[in-house]
Amino acid sequence: MKLSKALWISGGCGALVAAFFAGSHTGARRVRAQNEWTDGKLLSSAIDSVRANALDSLPTDELLRRAVSGMLRELHDPYAALLKPDSYQRYRGSLQGEGRGLGLTLRRQLGVVSVARVVPNSPSAFGGVRPGDRILTVNNFPIADGWGRPASDTSSAALDTARIAVWRASVGDTAHLIVVRSEWHAPSITDAGMLTDSVGYLRLGAITAGSASELERSVDSLLRVGARSLLLDLRGNAGGLLEEGVKAAGLFLPRGTLIASLDSRKGSPPEPHFSQRSRWTNLPLTILVDENTASSAEIIAGALRDHRRALLVGTRTYGKGLVQRVVKLTPELSLRLTTARWLTPGGEALVRRQVKGDSVTGGLSPDVLVDDATRPDPFAMPKEWSRTQAVEVSRAADSASFVALREGWSIAPISVLESRLGAKIAELSPKSMRTELARSRWVGAGIGLAIVRLFEAGGSTDAMLRYSVRDDAALRAGLEVLSPGADIVTALPATPVWDSSTRRSPSGPTSR
């Protein structure tokens, strides 16, 4: 009897305690709701007050939008933004790999606009535009007018159909092309080819929907043509979809390997992401990175580095260890917020790259450090050259390349071609190039320009890729890891026939 009484008493006390806690919890919630209501009212009152009293007010919806923008700014999240429909579409399109514009990369040099690159599957590719084409008119307007905007921007040209007149060096005549603007998928693999007989090269330009499958197909194609090792170029890759990055890294690791973990704000344990589809766990692999390698591209590089699967070559990466999500607020407005931080398999959280004097911190640290890992522009002229000098060397290169095309010079062996071009260009060297060094640089720049024009005209993308190894320090360093001592384009530097003083061949190390 006493026992049951005690049980009743203790049960009653328990119920009272539970009721107290439940009540206090409900009370706390009520207080919080009241606070939120008060804060909401504060915002509403502030907007009303601005509308009623401010000298220069704005419509309510605009004031609200700006209030949200201000709030996001105060979060100090550099990636947070309120997205309007067009920005949202653009952001979504960039992640989905939706192609924009005509799919052309133009090069404006000394008043001449030429095509530097045509994106595969783009309207320009279907329209027959080729790298190296010089654009004369667009819709009968001289290109000098630049579509009414900078020539490098073809993304928002007004018309759906562009009638482009080009001058094509390989035929020595003009061609008229019709490019119809349409929806297209921009490929993630922007360059692919063989650097040597056994080293394949792939450049992953962005990580969008389907990138991992695209990478898989491209590696398969390279292996079919004899690649026994792979150089994966992630330079300039600003990332994209996290899931695609995880899938892409997983291709080179055993199934079930940890690729990255997401550490969200809730204090819960990091959410691991494992490789799903494994393909090449033993293929020798080297990865090129630079200061613009970011986000998902860093996930790939970080996972393959931490699992000791690949050497990284280049410079410290960007260091974007954050993940964003987009939340739809209204049918028109969306909110992009940083919601998590990702960790490498080794548990490293990346921080932004910082340069202080000679010291560089943050990002992923490469295994082979290169002074300047950026992809060089073959058309860049030395800074100290005057415009006249640049024009002269460009004209000389044009002239030499036209002669080579007309006479059908072979591009192999490259040293012979360089030597012949050099002789032509040297004949045109200006008197201002007084010293042997100055003349050598001038002729060297001219040979480089002429060769690129020849390769563009001949559509020799593989040859162009191999040739670019010479001036691309990171590519060279990466190739040297996979194939040490590989003689780039199997060429001993040509003996310059234009300079009698150098005909005495130096007796240095020789080459194949």
């Binding site: 082979v368 450090l369 996979l482 040490p484 530097p493 130096p506």
Partner: protein
């Protein structure tokens, strides 16, 4: 073949590098077979820490070694067993200038070339090299080779010490060229080739 040091962290402190570099000469003479792990490398160095005169040559070699170690993580420095002799083989890649440092009267150029095997050819120590543009146009500029260092660097992150195919063998050079005025910055020579100048 003895490894002078190994797996030194990038940015390792100067003192350690100095000890390693200074000790390297002694290590070569003693033909020490130093294990390539950090601990054993340091043990190997400890046995050879005898006072060595801090000459200009030593300082230059130290500078080259520091550049090499910071550039190729996991690189192991090897003794220059051929001394001042020149080795020219029929098959070799050509040295390229990889880094440049502007100086007052002289600019410093660091150059490297690799081979698959240890017995790769080299430019002669204390010799001269002709600078040639990547396209093959000779410049007439001669670089003086001040120091050279054979080394090996890993070809994969899991390079096993005794597996030759996991490594590549290189020669690194520290060379100087006289400044030719403000018109030609030293950075011009980055990526240029170095061919042995005829004697």
């Amino acid at each position: 073949m003895g490894f002078i040091n190994s797996a030194i962290a990038v940015g390792a402190d100067v003192t350690l590098n100095r000890v390693l570099s200074v000790a390297s000469a002694v290590a070569i003479a003693c033909s020490l077979a130093v294990s390539p792990t950090v601990g054993s490398a340091q043990r190997g160095m400890a046995s050879s820490q005898v006072p060595v005169k801090d000459s200009v040559a030593t300082r230059t070699m130290l500078r080259l070694d520091r550049w090499l170690i910071s550039r190729y993580r996991g690189a192991q420095l090897l003794p220059d067993s051929v001394g001042g002799q020149r080795l020219v083989a029929a098959y070799a890649s050509i040295s390229r200038v990889e880094s440049v440092v502007n100086g007052g009267r002289y600019d410093t150029l660091f150059a490297v070339h690799f081979a698959e095997h240890a017995s790769g050819p080299a430019l002669s120590a204390a010799g001269s090299a002709r600078l040639v543009a990547p396209t093959g146009s000779a410049s007439g500029v001669l670089a003086r080779i001040v120091a050279r260092r054979p080394f090996r660097a890993p070809r994969s992150p899991l390079a096993r010490n005794h597996n030759e195919s996991d490594w590549r063998y290189g020669w690194a050079y520290l060379t100087v060229v006289p400044r030719t005025g403000r018109v030609t910055p030293a950075a011009t020579f980055r990526g240029w080739l170095m061919l042995e100048a005829s004697r």
